[in-house]
């Protein structure tokens, strides 16, 4: 017995039936069903065929809807069919005025594209959670005292917090050091995190392969005869060890010593400090650190700290507890130093200054999007105006207003769709431009992608934009007056006057938001300018920098280090084009510099305080290469050897602090807490902005590399930054530098070669990002508002053709006509300008913490921005005004 022939499922039948036009429905349904049955009987895929054929037929069999056909459809309630028809009508409407449509799509695309690009940055940098478990319970912990707003923790403090704090589950600490990896390809210099065993647990991360070290292993790792351990980062494991999981348990050579690989971390894992501290070179492997209670100290501020709050404990509560705890161990701290410890949310810590900048930019791009929507809406109102006759005819012939409303919304949706598509392309371009501004200095810039979240955002924005910009014309569609509309399409009816008012309102919105962006951009540009004009104390142009690190297993003695440095200095001086070269411990603006306690001969500090100084170490030629200014005395020379008398340079702030009004040359100082020898000051150098461009300059002294070990009583300094000055492009020195270094000792890696100008640029990322991006936004906003004003006036001229014609016929001069239109433009402009300035005044206060060296009421900005704005608006008004004079009075009169 045969079963009944299978038919398409009921939903497919209903769908196709709803879509097919009435006149064809009966036959086509049967035809399609026959086809379905036949294909199913042959074993072919039938349902897909059925649906595609059905949809295609519904499309091709729709006659272009005309009024006599469309009404029965609506009454028949065939929503699907009429929707299709409306889409086609909307599409044809779009194509009928290609110029206007292109302007609308471009405007929306510009807005949607920039908004999405900005959102992709914000998504990656601000919104995406950091790669830790429950990052909102994670805080970083810092010391703070008179000289430092934010500095490292001391080991004893960490132990005490761990034992006594009730707010936290645990506290971890770490620092970083450079190690040289040998035995795998060329010797490479890596940044290693030295971390307490609980660091991974506090951050809430687990390894991809292998395991992590325990507290006991960390304690024993450094001891003689015990194995050393390391955990590798995912990137290092892939790049250097070929992603071989068998690396776990094997031995690698770090600084010449055998180290066992315990595990490999997951992709994207970094220490919190890797997002900011020396970001171009994050730590790529982690070795154990043990905080030994036997040797822990309150003065060794050398460690970063992170703690995990107990569930439900707020950051504020932890900070209050920290203050109490620190007050409790006051015996260790001199009160006048105002020593305290504070915690900060990990998000704030990682984002630093970029967070507020990005928030401002996100708000700004929102305004830009609004301007774009207002522009598109204004253009849509124009379109609606030119089609008023068509529409009133439709209403008169029986089209329902609801349908017209839907048609208008559909048009908006089509525009938004096209604009959104354009926006995707623009978003990719803009994203590239944004990341180019701060590839290394925006934390997490590498994570910026245009992914599904950005696409979803873009979709939502497009939908919102569609609704927003078709709303105004749609509301007008509802208010059509059939009788006056049919009587005459062009005369000054009340409807068209209110339309004009609506358009003027939209243009005022654009102008005021444009003014706001322009003021903001102006203030940020002034900030960047004033930061650029800060005297850094050195001359970055023409300087090449690179890091070197001597393998510590072979360079344990001061003499070896000095011999290497002499050898390198000799080679560097031989490179053609090098004007000065040397090695410096800490590069200004690239890494922060710490301070050491001092005895200053003949200086009595106020009670409870102690002289301090940032310690810089340099070889002869390094201070010259950086272009720091020698004010008195001399700089270091090759004769300042380890055996020669100990010498030092001091900066102006140091001289002013410890020898006010006196000559610092010949004064002596020595280091605090050790039986260090006296060091004589031989030179006074200008202040250098070391830790940041805008921060206060602190007391600072310089020691020669050759004398460092003897002056401080410690081991030799085996790392440093090569600085070389040349008159040509500094990057041309990169290859000769590597050759010179290899000639002295091939096992010393040269890393991070970059011009000093790049270092300075990176330090200026936040203001550069805000001022350049905001500047871009302001330019687009200005362009869009000018276009809006322009088209408003063109519209006005067409609206008033008759009036202008009559005026001209009864003797109005060209000047009078120009004035008439121009004054209209200026009225709208001044209104927008006033509102925009009021908005700017409100926003300026919010910008204040991003500004530097510029008051929020900076007169230059508040004069220049409105002037530029007025000039552009005037330009946009003049053209339509002159167009008005070309109206032929005779033709205009004939229309009356």
């Amino acid at each position: 017995m045969r079963s009944a022939p299978p038919t398409p499922p009921a939903w497919a039948l209903r769908l196709v039936e709803a879509l097919l036009p009435v006149r064809d429905r009966e036959f086509l349904m049967l035809d399609l069903e026959d086809g379905f049955v036949a294909r199913r009987a042959r074993g072919n895929r039938a349902l897909g065929w059925y649906l595609v054929q059905g949809l295609h037929a519904a499309w091709t069999r729709r006659r272009p809807p005309t009024l006599d056909r469309e009404s029965p459809d609506i009454r028949g309630g065939a929503m699907g069919a009429s929707l299709l028809a409306d889409l086609r009508t909307a599409w044809r409407g779009l194509r009928r005025q290609p110029g206007l449509s292109a302007a609308i799509v471009l405007s929306l695309g510009l807005g949607i594209g920039t908004a999405s690009a900005m959102y992709s940055v914000v998504q990656a940098v601000l919104l995406a959670p950091l790669p830790y478990r429950e990052p909102d319970r994670l805080v970083t912990v810092w010391s703070k005292w008179v000289a430092f707003d934010r500095t490292w923790l001391a080991t004893r403090d960490v132990l005490d917090f761990k034992a006594e704090s009730r707010s936290i589950e645990d506290i971890a600490m770490w620092s970083s050091e450079h190690v040289t990896l040998t035995g795998v390809g060329d010797a490479s210099r890596l940044n290693a995190g030295v971390v307490t065993a609980n660091t991974f647990a506090v951050l809430g991360v687990t390894p991809l392969y292998g395991r992590l070290f325990t507290e006991d292993e960390a304690r024993d790792a450094g001891k003689a005869g015990q194995t050393r351990f390391a955990v590798l980062s995912y990137d290092l494991w892939r790049a250097t060890f070929g992603a071989d999981p068998a690396i776990v348990g094997r031995s690698i050579r770090l600084d010449g010593q055998a180290v066992t690989v315990l595990g490999v971390m997951r992709p994207r894992f970094q220490l919190p400090t890797d997002f900011t501290e020396d970001a171009p070179e994050p730590t790529t492997l982690w070795t154990p650190l043990y905080n030994d209670p036997a040797t822990a100290d309150r003065d060794d501020h050398n460690f970063y700290g992170a703690a995990r709050l107990r569930p439900g404990v707020s950051l504020g509560a932890f900070n209050r507890e920290l203050a109490t705890l620190v007050a409790g161990f006051a015996n260790g701290y001199r009160p006048a130093m105002h020593f305290t410890v504070f915690a900060q949310s990990i998000d704030d810590d990682v984002l630093g200054g970029v967070g507020p900048a990005l928030r401002v930019l996100l708000v700004a791009v929102g305004f830009l999007l609004l301007i774009a929507c207002a522009n598109a809406a204004a253009l849509l109102v124009t379109r609606a105006e030119t089609r008023r006759r068509e529409w009133t005819t439709r209403v008169a012939l029986g089209a329902s207003r609801a349908r017209l409303l839907r048609l208008q919304l559909l048009e908006g949706a089509l525009f938004a769709l096209a604009g959104g598509t354009l926006g995707i392309g623009l978003a990719f371009l803009a994203k590239r431009a944004l990341t180019a501004i701060g590839p290394t200095a925006i934390p997490r810039a590498a994570e910026i992608t245009v992914d599904w979240r950005v696409m979803a955002f873009m979709l939502a924005v497009s939908a919102g934009a569609a609704l927003l910009c078709s709303l105004a014309p749609a509301v007008h569609a509802m208010r059509l007056n059939v009788v006056t509309g049919l009587k005459d399409g062009t005369t000054n009816t009340s409807a068209s006057r209110s339309r004009l008012r609506l358009r003027a309102l939209l243009v005022v919105t654009q102008l005021s938001l444009g003014m706001l962006l322009l003021t903001g951009a102006g203030l940020m540009a002034r900030t960047l300018g004033s930061m650029r004009h800060i005297d850094l104390g050195f001359e970055p142009t023409g300087v090449l920098t690179a890091r070197i690190a001597l393998p510590v297993d072979r360079y344990t003695r001061s003499e070896d280090v000095n011999r290497y440095l002499d050898g390198l200095a000799g080679r560097l001086r031989e490179i053609p084009g090098v004007e000065a070269a040397g090695l410096i411990r800490s590069l200004p603006l690239a890494s922060t510099i710490g301070d050491k306690g001092l005895f200053v001969e003949g200086y009595t500090s106020p009670p409870g305080e102690h002289p301090m100084g940032d310690w810089q170490v340099a070889t002869p030629g390094a201070v010259e290469a950086l272009g720091e200014h020698l004010l008195r005395g001399r700089l270091f020379t090759p004769s300042d050897t380890a055996r020669a008398p100990m010498v030092a340079l001091v900066n102006e702030t140091m001289a002013r602090t410890y020898w006010p009004g006196r000559d610092p040359i010949g004064r002596r100082l020595r280091f605090f807490g050790r039986n260090a020898p006296w060091v004589t000051v031989v030179g006074l150098v200008g202040d250098v902005r070391h830790n940041s461009v805008t921060g206060a300059v602190k007391t600072k002294f310089y020691l020669p590399y050759a004398q460092f070990s003897a002056a401080t009583g410690g081991g030799p300094l085996t790392t440093g930054i090569v600085v070389m000055r040349t008159a040509v492009d500094p990057m041309t020195l990169a290859a000769p530098l590597r050759a010179a270094a290899a000639a002295v000792d091939p096992e010393v890696p040269v890393a991070g070669t970059r011009p000093m100008t790049e270092v300075v640029d990176t330090a200026l990322t936040a203001p550069r990002l805000t001022s350049q991006v905001l500047g871009g936004f302001a330019a687009v906003a200005l362009l869009l508002s000018a276009l809006g004003l322009f088209s408003l006036l063109v519209f006005l001229v067409t609206q008033r053709t008759q009036e202008i014609g009559i005026r001209m016929a009864i003797g109005a001069s060209t000047g009078a006509v120009v004035r008439f239109i121009f004054v209209e433009g200026m009225r709208v402009t001044v209104l927008g300008l006033t509102i925009g300035l009021a908005l700017s005044a409100m926003a300026a206060r919010g910008l204040a913490n991003l500004l530097y060296g510029v008051s929020p009421w900076d007169p230059a900005t508040w004069v220049t921005a409105p002037t530029v704005f007025l000039a552009v608006a005037a330009l946009a008004s003049v053209i339509p005004a002159f167009r008005a004079t070309r109206i032929d009075p005779l033709r205009a009169l004939r229309q009356v």
Binding site: D24, E26, F27, L28, M29, L30, D31, L32, E33, D34, G35, A38, Q53, H56, A57, A58, W59, T60, R61
Partner: protein
């Protein structure tokens, strides 16, 4: 002089001729798809049939279906003018291909 036919019109007319009493839109679509070995849209077939009917080349009538669902099928049949038009097209085709057979079949 009979009416001029486009290529797709010729295919549709040939299908109608071939199908005799069973020339529904769906059957015509199948026949054209099979003969021409390309994707044929039912909507396009009906649009062509509408045009052919307007030109007076085919005629359609509604026939109730025997199925349970009911409804009527549209059955198409050739009009004398249609017969003449397709015959003329065939004549043209035959004359133009005369002697070219080896050439056409080899390529």
């Amino acid at each position: 002089m009979a009416a001029y036919l486009g290529e797709f019109e010729q295919l549709v007319l040939l299908a109608v001729l071939r199908l005799e009493d069973g020339a529904t839109g769906g059957a015509i679509r199948d026949a054209v798809a099979e003969g021409s070995r390309r994707t044929v849209w039912i909507g396009a077939v009906h649009t062509t049939l509408d045009r052919l009917e307007l030109k007076g080349l085919v005629r359609s009538r509604a026939v109730p279906t025997p199925t349970a669902r009911g409804g009527r099928r549209k059955i198409f049949a050739l009009q004398p003018a249609g017969r003449a038009a397709i015959a003329q097209a065939y004549g043209t085709w035959t004359r133009m291909t005369q002697g070219l057979r080896p050439e056409l079949e080899s390529s």
